[in-house]
């Protein structure tokens, strides 16, 4: 899936990154990618590299912050964490998603109820 670089949250990829950071705290790039793959039960065949353009975009918007640190294996890695603004954005985006899916669900249920 080629992410649309003009889309603010890279569609759902940005949302997934923010959610992952909220749930698991600060992570480096590889960890975020693996986590997303795991959560989706490996159904999302993600090109892990596409994460990095999404990460820089989120950082420029101020929703995540980064700093150089050490991985579990002692390697020098860039660690990303959610900012307060990012947390607010995540809540807002989550509410938006839920509202959207609720509406769609109602439509589906309506057509089910019809004889």
């Amino acid at each position: 899936m080629q992410p649309d670089k003009h889309d603010v949250l890279y569609g759902s990829l940005g949302l997934m990154i923010l959610k992952t950071l909220e749930a698991l705290g600060s992570l480096h790039g590889y960890r975020i990618a693996r986590r997303i793959e795991q959560i989706s039960d490996n159904q999302l065949a993600l090109n892990q590299g596409t994460l990095y353009p999404a990460l820089i975009r989120l950082e420029q918007m101020g929703w995540i912050s980064s700093k150089w640190g050490e991985s579990e294996t002692g390697r020098r890695v860039k660690v990303y964490s959610l900012t307060r603004a990012g947390r607010k954005q995540l809540d807002a985006q989550q509410a938006e998603w839920q509202r959207a899916t609720a509406i769609v669900e109602r439509f589906l249920r309506i057509s089910e109820d019809l004889p």
Binding site: Y30, N47, P53
Partner: protein, 916 residues
């Protein structure tokens, strides 16, 4: 807000490309290392683990590319890249870069200079808020002497009574003010006995309010200050005058200075940059118009009937005020009908007081009109705007020729560029990107050329302004450089970059694309660049023919003007202008003053003769009166009238066609005599002898004793007007002739006699205000300033474009010969003689020249309509000029073709066949 911060970060990222690339690479490297570790833990071999890590990552280069695009402002990054490339390319070809920048600087500089001058004279708005809301009023009449500001038939001055009527009619829909032109008055400062001059304007109470000008210090005029019953002696001074003459101190407010012997208190100082509404005639001080009478101001006025100078000019009969109004909203048509009705009432009232029925009917046909005053009044505009528009057109053509030269230089470099472009295309560059790159290089050149051009343009416009104003001192404020010039130069540079850069860029890209598709590079270039270069040279030649023809025509116009017979002997004549009215000489003392001045002047060593008059020569005579002429019916006609002292015609060098001069015997008690000029004699006595016939102001009481050759009293451009000369001793009692002129015939060097003359007059008449003392030849040359400036500039443009076109031709022929070296070598090896090779080059040169000249002559024929207004004594399609131009071009193009032709004949077939 968030987006703004993101945009700022993207801007920064554009400039930290290297660092961010390194960071990303490190991140990716550690990502791949972690992934490889995990696969290793799962039991893969190191190679397999690495490959699996790369596979799950995706394309590394792709990710890096997308990352770069996402994080930075793409266009800015591209621009940075393009600019660095342009810089490298120009640095690698310094000769080309320098030539191109210098040529551009010349072209852009010249265009900026002329346009800045045009802007200052015609377009620049007054430095007041909402200048487009300002309007000036005037009357249109069938007759009317040429008003120096408005041209024939327009009356820009109104009486005070009319001003009040119109102001009432305008009411609350706007504000109106009255103002006079600048006049030179005498000022004395406290504690200083010397007299100095000051430029003063008389204004109504609402002047500053109407213009929207707040005084910088002190207070503005109020209605009380301009009350005829109070005559408040107050003044508002300009910022410049305050700095120059009042010490620029706060204490200047409240001091008293004496203007024309009236003590006025300085109550306010105008803001910096405000010098009144005449952009070419700046004011130092503004006085309430109620001070007109106490200060004996009697200039710039017209009236029907005699003016009583002892009473204030508040009546309807004397027109001395220019009217200006501010109409909020900027649409004067809303208020015009009411104003026209009010003016009509005034006109009818005034016509009732006119005795002469012909004058009365003429006055009743006057109509009232308004025009925009956003750029102020300007005498320069009336005289020069046509010439400036023509010059702007011509200099734009010069700029086009310069751009054409640079375009050809760029086309000649097509080989190198096409090679570059071919590589870039194969690396995946799009046409748009390539075009942007090439245009950035052109823009860089244009920016450098434009920067130098601005400096040149600034200097050039001030130089031209000095020529036009004929001054070497400080220029009026309107000529100061400002942002408008910079914007113009900037826009011009961008336009030039597109004009000279676009076609070569497109050709180079087309050649590169052909080469990338497999064609041989040289063929690809040849097919696209050489025809373009040929057409560009043809265009240059055509424009150059047009400009050179124009230059020759304008030069001949100047010569024709210089050959006009002014009607008097200009060489050896010095004129002195003076003002006895402002100096408070009573009217009856003027004949005695004339005699004294003549005696004083004649006593100066080196002076052969001297005479006084009311009308000067080439000075714009405005003195006229009603006369009844024998044989011309009972009605009186308006004729120009010149009171002169005895010996005037001999002094001025005006030959007498018949009869005699005035002498001392034609005194106050002697029979009334007059001399008429040829124009008058032809008009009223066509049959023959005017001598012995009679005319007169009130009856036929004056005998004509002489007929003088027509002398030009207005300007050199205007034909002589019918004029009556009367001895000054025979002026009627109570008449105050505007005696202003002393002509002095000298027999030595003007440089030494002029100061001696001035000193002698000052000693004899210490109270007399003396203006210019100068040679008549200088006045004649100043009268032809416009023709001279235009002719010289056109000549410069013509020569410049001729040289550029010749260079262009030389360049194209050389390029052609260089590209055809192989072909020429083959021909010579097959037995062609040098003369046949010469014919090859010659035919190419001739083809280009003939096509260029044909188009150029066509352009001259088409453009002649715009030139004809500036010409005198020649038609645009003058055959002599066209023949001269053709000859000049044949010679120049032959010279330009000489070297390339020689090079072609010197081609060594062995060498030519061996290379490539």
């Amino acid at each position: 807000m968030r987006r703004l911060r993101a945009a700022a970060r993207r801007l920064l990222a554009t400039f930290r490309r290297g660092r961010m690339d390194d960071e990303l690479r490190e991140e990716i490297a550690s990502h791949l290392a972690e992934a490889t570790d995990e696969y290793l833990r799962r039991g893969m071999s190191p190679d397999d683990a690495r490959r699996a890590a790369l596979r799950s990552f995706g394309g590394v280069t792709q990710v890096e590319q997308i990352h770069r695009e996402v994080r930075a402002l793409a266009w800015l990054g591209d621009l940075r890249q393009d600019l660095r490339l342009a810089g490298r390319t120009l640095a690698a070809n310094p000769a080309f870069a320098i030539v191109a920048v210098l040529t551009l600087a010349l072209g852009i500089g010249a265009t900026t200079a002329v346009f800045t001058l045009l802007d200052a004279v015609v377009f620049k708005p007054l430095p007041v808020p909402a200048a487009r809301e300002l309007f000036a009023f005037y009357e249109n009449g069938p007759e009317g002497a040429a008003d120096p500001l408005g041209g024939t038939g327009r009356f820009l001055r109104f009486s005070y009574a009319r001003f009040e009527q119109l102001q009432r009619a305008l009411g609350s829909r706007g504000s109106m003010a009255a103002v006079t032109r600048s006049s030179r008055l005498i000022v004395r400062f406290p504690g200083d006995a010397d007299r100095h001059f000051i430029n003063a304007q008389f204004v109504s109470a609402g002047y500053f309010a109407t213009l929207g000008v707040q005084v910088a210090r002190g207070r503005t005029l109020t209605a009380d200050d301009v009350d005829i019953d109070r005559i408040a002696p107050v003044a508002i001074v300009s910022d410049g005058f305050w700095r120059r003459s009042l010490g620029a101190s706060e204490a200047a407010l409240g001091t008293t200075i004496a203007i024309n012997d009236v003590a006025v208190t300085v109550i306010g100082i105008a803001p910096r940059g405000f010098v009144g509404m005449w952009t070419d005639s700046e004011a130092d001080v503004w006085l309430p118009l109620t001070l007109q009478q106490p200060m004996h101001y009697h200039n710039n006025s017209s009236s029907y009937g005699a003016i009583d100078n002892d009473r204030p000019w508040m009546l309807q009969g004397i027109a001395w005020l220019n009217l200006v109004a501010r109409v909020p909203g900027g649409d004067v048509r809303d208020v015009l009908p009411q104003l026209q009705a009010a003016n009509r009432d005034g006109v009818v009232e005034l016509a009732g007081t006119i005795r002469n029925p012909k004058d009365r009917t003429a006055m009743l046909t006057h109509t009232f009109a308004a025009e925009s005053l956003s750029s102020g009044f300007s005498g320069l505009r009336a005289r020069f705007s046509d010439a400036l528009f023509v010059l702007t057109g011509m200099v734009t053509l010069v700029l086009l020729v310069t751009c054409a030269n640079i375009a050809n230089l760029l086309l000649a470099r097509a080989a190198v560029r096409a090679h570059d472009i071919r590589i870039r295309i194969s690396l995946g560059a799009t046409t748009g990107r390539l075009l942007r790159q090439c245009l950035t290089e052109s823009l860089a050149l244009a920016a450098l050329g434009g920067a130098c051009g601005v400096l040149l343009g600034n200097w050039g416009s001030r130089f031209l302004a000095r020529q036009v104003l004929d001054t070497s001192g400080q220029l009026p404020m309107v000529f100061a450089p400002d942002a408008r010039m910079l914007w113009f130069a900037g826009g011009l540079s961008v336009a030039a970059a597109i004009v000279f850069g676009l076609v070569p860029a497109m050709r180079a890209i087309a050649a590169g694309r052909r080469a990338a598709a497999g064609a041989h590079l040289r063929q690809a270039i040849g097919r696209t660049t050489l025809p373009g270069m040929r057409w560009i040279v043809i265009g240059q030649l055509a424009l150059s023919v047009f400009l050179v023809s124009a230059a020759l025509l304008l030069g001949r116009t100047l010569i024709n003007f210089m050959r006009i017979d002014p009607g008097f002997a200009a060489d050896g004549l010095v004129t002195v202008s003076f003002d006895p009215i402002t100096s408070r000489y009573p009217g009856d003392s003027l004949p005695a003053l004339a005699r004294r001045l003549v005696a004083t002047a004649t006593a100066v060593p080196g002076v052969a003769a001297s005479a006084a008059s009311t009308c000067g020569l080439i000075a714009g005579c405005s003195s006229s009166g009603g006369f009844r002429v024998e044989g011309a019916g009972d009605e009186s006609v308006s004729l120009y009238r010149n009171w002169v002292s005895p010996g005037y015609f001999a002094t001025a060098g005006i030959p007498l066609v018949a009869g005699r001069e005035f002498s001392d015997r034609d005194g106050a008690q002697s029979p009334r005599v007059a001399i008429v000029n040829e124009s008058l004699a032809r008009r009223y006595f066509p049959a023959g002898n005017a001598i012995g016939r009679r005319l007169g102001a009130s009856g036929l009481d004056t005998e004509i004793v002489g007929v003088a050759h027509d002398a030009r009293t207005q300007t050199l451009h205007d034909p002589a007007v019918p004029m009556v000369y009367i001895p000054i001793d025979q002026k009627p009692p109570n008449a105050q002739p505007t005696l202003t002129n002393l002509d002095v015939r000298i027999a030595g060097a003007a440089a030494t006699i002029e100061p001696a003359l001035r000193r002698a007059i000052h000693e004899a008449e210490p109270n007399l205000l003396v203006g210019d003392v100068g040679a008549m030849s200088r006045r004649l040359s100043r009268d032809l300033t416009r023709e001279r400036v235009v002719a010289y500039l056109a000549f410069g443009f013509g020569i410049l474009t001729l040289l550029l076109a010749a260079l262009g031709l030389y360049g194209v022929l050389s390029y052609g010969v260089a590209r055809r070296t192989q072909e020429i070598g083959v021909r010579m090896a097959l037995g062609a003689r040098p003369v046949q090779v010469l014919r090859l080059v010659g035919s190419q040169s001739a083809g280009l020249t003939i096509t260029g000249m044909a188009l150029g002559l066509l352009a001259t024929w088409g453009g002649s309509r715009y030139l004809s207004g500036m010409l005198f004594g020649v038609t645009p399609l003058d055959p002599t000029t066209l023949v001269l131009v053709t000859l000049a071009f044949v010679v120049v193009t032959a010279l330009a073709s000489y070297l390339p032709a020689r090079r072609a004949t010197n081609v060594d077939p062995l060498v030519a066949l061996r290379c490539e």
